[in-house]
């Protein structure tokens, strides 16, 4: 929203410039955070936090200020009453595509069985109709096997096996994906319900960027890596041509730190898991995935 040249973007910049990062250019020009605001563009309270208590306090303080200033209905400034969405930020969901929710989490290990595994993060995964078809069998027969095309697996690995459990990181570049494969096999058929098992691997290595985190001055001096096994169980309805369940897991070892993923104290190798589950096609589930190639989803 920070960069959108439409009413949403204008409104967001207007309130953000009254908030916790107003005018900030260093160490970064970010305006990310939580904001309580009136529709008139008058900011009530804001902060950048992830702790529930802090967020509750923000809401309480924002509401108290709102109640205090209430004297009649707040009005949306005319500037924001119509919205011609900035096409650069269009988030067209692919026709007949598929939405998965991704959850990522650290895993306990035999060398650290009491590891703190409470932190986790989410993203959405979009598949185009063609990518969805890559996971469906051509013949509805038990024993039918096939390989998911490497372009589809490589994109899944590059965008959705990134260590963002504690913070954020860039997608793996194509050249960083050293291995990405998924094989599928039909293991059972009951009427129109086809049970499919998936097996695969993913391996990524990104050389150190030398970038320095401006908040703690730590430098990226080591490779960032992952080495994952992929397993899955899909239930496909061959009559409705729809997946009823899409349970996919990529888990293995990760190492290294990205500039903003808060791993400087946990360089690894340590275990990590990425779990994927099917979501309904509802507006709130159509929040775009973090990593998108702008034209990818509407050229196909």
């Amino acid at each position: 929203m920070q960069h959108q040249s439409d009413s949403e973007g204008q409104f967001f910049r207007h309130i953000a410039e009254q908030g916790h990062y107003a005018g900030m250019t260093k160490p970064a020009p970010t305006r990310q955070g939580l904001y309580v605001t009136g529709v008139d563009g008058d900011l009530l309270h804001s902060l950048n936090a992830t702790e529930a208590k802090q967020i509750l306090s923000l809401m309480g303080r924002g509401l108290a200020k709102w109640e205090k200033k209430q004297s009649g209905a707040a009005r949306i400034a005319p500037l924001y009453k119509s919205n011609k969405a900035d096409s650069k930020f269009a988030t067209d969901f692919p026709t007949d595509g598929l939405i998965l929710r991704q959850t990522m989490r650290d895993l306990p290990s035999s060398s650290n069985p009491r590891r703190d595994t409470s932190r986790h993060n989410f993203d959405h995964v979009w598949f185009t109709a063609k990518e969805k078809a890559d996971f469906t069998p051509k013949k509805m027969e038990v024993g039918e096997t096939w390989e998911v095309p490497s372009q589809t697996v490589k994109r899944l690995v590059a965008f959705h096996t990134v260590d963002q459990v504690r913070g954020e990181a860039d997608a793996w570049g194509w050249e960083a994906v050293k291995e990405a494969s998924i094989q599928c096999r039909v293991v059972d058929i009951a009427k129109s319900k086809v049970l499919i098992e998936l097996y695969g691997n993913a391996k990524c290595v990104k050389p150190p960027s030398g970038e320095i985190n401006p908040y703690n001055n730590k430098k990226i001096e080591k490779d960032i890596t992952n080495d994952l096994r992929i397993r899955g169980e899909l239930l496909f309805d061959s009559e409705a041509r729809k997946f009823q369940s899409f349970r996919l897991l990529a888990a293995g070892m990760r190492s290294g730190a990205a500039t903003y993923n808060f791993r400087f104290d946990d360089m690894g190798p340590s275990p990590i898991g990425f779990a994927f589950e099917l979501l309904d096609d509802k507006p709130e589930n159509r929040i775009k995935p973090k990593f998108l190639m702008w034209e990818y989803f509407w050229e196909k």
């Binding site: 439409d6 409104f11 939580l34 904001y35 309580v36 924001y80 069985p113 779990a275 929040i287 973090k290």
Partner: protein, 94 residues
């Protein structure tokens, strides 16, 4: 006396929770180390990664995915807005 009973009860409760967590972790470690090839091992690791219901009570909030749409609704209802604009968005990882 009551205080002691309460402490004892808490100790039992925490001991039980700790033992349950340790048991759950050791099951996950075993399944992970075996490559989560069997349906049971797959399920153990898969379920461990997914958030619990307690972790996701915020999903009960009817979030509005568009700021502009939220502004129109808040304007009509004369309510303030709570905007989540950061990495770790409750609806995704934008």
């Amino acid at each position: 006396m009551r205080f002691t009973i309460l402490l004892a009860a808490l100790a039992v409760l925490f001991g039980h929770t700790f033992a349950a967590n340790a048991q759950s972790n050791s099951k996950v470690i075993k399944a992970f180390d075996a490559g989560f090839k069997t349906p049971d091992d797959f399920d153990t690791v898969y379920q461990f990664v997914l958030p619990s219901d307690d972790d996701t009570t915020w999903r009960q909030v009817p979030w509005i995915p568009s700021l502009w749409q939220g502004m129109q609704i808040a304007g009509k209802k004369n309510k303030p807005m709570f905007i989540w604009a950061m990495n770790g968005d409750p609806l995704g990882c934008v």
